[in-house]
C-alpha cells in the first residue's frame, strides 16, 4: 500500500546555503546595533533559539539575510517593536504547571502567613496570566490584603495586556482545569466576566499589583522581596547571563525568601545552588538559606 504523504512545509530557519560562521558575525552585529541604538540587550541570549526567531522575522518581511534585517531594524522603530515581540517569548497560561502552584500553597503559604507584609516580584511576567494566578492564590489563602505583587517585563506592549486583564474566553476551560489541579478552593468563573469571546478579569485582583518595565539584563534590583518568581524566562539566556540574573535575584531576596523557577530550569549550574535549599523534591521552588 502506498501511503499518501504530504510534503512538509519548510521551516523558518537558516537557509541551507548560509555559512554558519558568517551568520554568527551578522547576528552579533545586529544585536550590537540594537543594543547601542535602542538599549535592548539580546547579546547574551541563547543562540540557537534566538537565531530561529530572527529568521522567522526575516522571512515574514520577505527579506533574505540578517544584514537586511539589521538595516530595517536600525532605521525603523516599528520594525524594532515587532522584533522585540518576536524575541521575548510570550507564551503563558494561568496556573501553568498546576503542581507548582499546589506546592506553593502547601509549602510556602504557611510561612508567608507569619509575615505582616509580603512582597512578591514576578520577573518576566509577560501578558500577566501567572500574575493573576498568584493574586487568586493569595486571595484564597487570605494573604492578598497584605501582599504587593511587582510584575515586570522588558516589553511595554505585553505589560499593557497584563494591565487590561482581558484574555481569550476559549482558554478558560483549560485555565479552569489548571486552577482546580492547582488546589483552587473556589469557582474559577467567579474571577472573570465573559463577554463575547473575551474573559475580563476582576478589577479586585489588580488592586495590589504594580506593573512596570524592567530589564533583567541591564537593570538593577529595585527592592527586597519575600518571593521572586521567574519561570521560563531565563531559558532564553546563555549560562553567563543566567548567572548574572541569579546574582540579581539572590541580592533581591530577603534571607529565607523564596525563588520559583520553571519546571525544567535548575540551579544546578549556578554557583548560588549552595545558597538555597529546594523546598520540594519535584517543583523548582527554592528557599534562600544563606
Amino acid at each position: 500500500m502506498v501511503v499518501p504523504v504530504k510534503r512538509p512545509s519548510p521551516l523558518p530557519d537558516t537557509p541551507a546555503t548560509y555559512a554558519r560562521s558568517l551568520e554568527r558575525i551578522e547576528v552579533d552585529l545586529l544585536l550590537e546595533g540594537i543594543y547601542r541604538h535602542y538599549g535592548f540587550d539580546f547579546r547574551s541570549y541563547a543562540y540557537s533559539s534566538l537565531k530561529r526567531r530572527l529568521w522567522k522575522r526575516i522571512f515574514a518581511e520577505g527579506l533574505s539575510s540578517i544584514s537586511e534585517l539589521q538595516s530595517r531594524v536600525l532605521h525603523d522603530p516599528n520594525m524594532m517593536e515587532k522584533l522585540l515581540l518576536d524575541l521575548s517569548i510570550n507564551v503563558s497560561a494561568m496556573f501553568r504547571d498546576p503542581a507548582f502552584y499546589k506546592c506553593f500553597r502547601e509549602k510556602v503559604v504557611p510561612v508567608l502567613r507569619t509575615y505582616p507584609f509580603i512582597r512578591v516580584w514576578h520577573a518576566g511576567c509577560s501578558t500577566g496570566e501567572e500574575v493573576y494566578s498568584m493574586a487568586i492564590l493569595l486571595e484564597e489563602e487570605g494573604l492578598y490584603e497584605r501582599a504587593r505583587i511587582y510584575a515586570t517585563d522588558i516589553n511595554e506592549v505585553v505589560l499593557q495586556t497584563a494591565r487590561n486583564g482581558i484574555y481569550p474566553a476559549e482558554r478558560m476551560q483549560e485555565y479552569t482545569q489548571n486552577y482546580l489541579r492547582a488546589g483552587g478552593t473556589s469557582a474559577f468563573s467567579e474571577y472573570y466576566t465573559a463577554k463575547y469571546d473575551a474573559a475580563i478579569f476582576s478589577e479586585a485582583l489588580r488592586r495590589n499589583v504594580v506593573y512596570s518595565q524592567h530589564n533583567l539584563v541591564t537593570d538593577r534590583s529595585f527592592s527586597e522581596f519575600n518571593v521572586i518568581l521567574c519561570r521560563n524566562v531565563m531559558i532564553y539566556f546563555d549560562r553567563p547571563l543566567q548567572e548574572r540574573v541569579h546574582t540579581l535575584f539572590y541580592e533581591s531576596l530577603v534571607p529565607f525568601g523564596y525563588l520559583g523557577l520553571g519546571s525544567k530550569e535548575s540551579l544546578r549550574f549556578s554557583k548560588y545552588e549552595a545558597c538555597y535549599e529546594q523546598v520540594d523534591e519535584r517543583e523548582k521552588l527554592y528557599r534562600r538559606t544563606q
Binding site: A16, S48, R52, D238
Partner: protein, 201 residues
C-alpha cells in the same frame, strides 16, 4: 583527518505514534558502553510525565529528562520534556516555550535543525514511527550539513507516515529495521571511540 571525521557528538532521535515500543527496542539493543550522547524527541501529551523513567527500564545506559542548559555527557540518553522545544547549543541542551511547530512542542524538526547547525557532519539523525511528517525537514537539514540520516523502514514501523515522509524528502537516508539501526549506531560508536582515542594519542 579520517579518524576525526568518524567521530560523532550526538545521535538525535525523533519518534511519534508508536514511539515508546520502538525506542525501547532500539535502546535495549545498544551496548552498555555506548558513548555518543543520544537525545530523543518523542511527541506526547503535555501532562505526560515519566517517559525517561519508563525508558530507563529498557536500557543499561543512563536516561534523563533534559533540563535547560544541561551538558551533554557520554553514555547518556536525554529525553525532551513535554511542552518544551529542545535545541542544542555547543555541548548543552536548551529548552524553549516558543509556539507549536507543525502542531508539536517539542518539534523533531526544530531539534534536528539545531543539531545540524551546531554539529554539522558530527550529527546522526534517526526518524522512527509516527503519524505525521515531523522530522523530515530536520533530517534533510542534517544531511545537507554533512551528517548522517537513518530512517526506520516504514514497512516495519507501527505507523509508517513519519518514516515514509522522511524517506521521501531524504532519499539518501539509510532505511533500516530497528535492529539494524541499533547495530549501525553501535558500529558508529565503535569507530567514534577509536577516533577519540587516536585524537588523544
Amino acid at each position: 583527518m579520517t579518524a576525526v571525521k568518524e567521530g560523532f557528538d550526538i545521535v538525535a532521535v525523533g519518534a511519534s505514534a508508536g514511539g515508546f515500543d520502538a525506542l525501547c527496542t532500539l535502546l535495549a539493543r545498544l551496548p552498555a558502553d555506548f558513548e555518543i550522547p543520544i537525545a530523543i524527541v518523542q511527541h506526547r501529551a503535555k501532562e505526560s510525565e515519566g517517559l525517561a523513567g519508563l525508558l530507563q527500564d529498557c536500557t543499561r545506559l543512563r536516561v534523563l529528562e533534559a533540563e535547560d542548559k544541561e551538558t551533554l555527557e557520554r553514555g547518556t540518553i536525554y529525553v525532551a520534556p513535554p511542552d518544551y522545544h529542545m535545541l542544542v547549543e555547543e555541548g548543552t541542551l536548551a529548552l524553549s516555550t516558543e509556539g507549536l511547530v507543525g502542531y508539536s512542542r517539542p518539534s523533531i524538526d526544530v531539534f534536528f535543525e539545531s543539531c545540524a547547525d551546531v554539529y554539522g557532519p558530527r550529527a546522526i539523525g534517526v526518524v522512527l514511527t509516527g503519524a505525521n511528517a515531523d522530522g523530515a525537514n530536520g533530517l534533510k537539514r542534517i544531511v545537507e550539513r554533512g551528517g548522517q540520516a537513518l530512517v526506520q523502514d516504514p514497512r516495519t514501523a507501527e505507523v509508517s507516515v513519519m518514516p515514509a515522509s522522511a524517506q521521501r524528502l531524504v532519499p539518501r537516508a539509510r532505511v533500516l529495521t530497528l535492529e539494524e539501526i541499533a547495530a549501525h549506531l553501535a558500529e558508529r560508536d565503535r569507530l567514534h571511540r577509536r577516533s577519540q582515542r587516536s585524537r588523544v594519542s
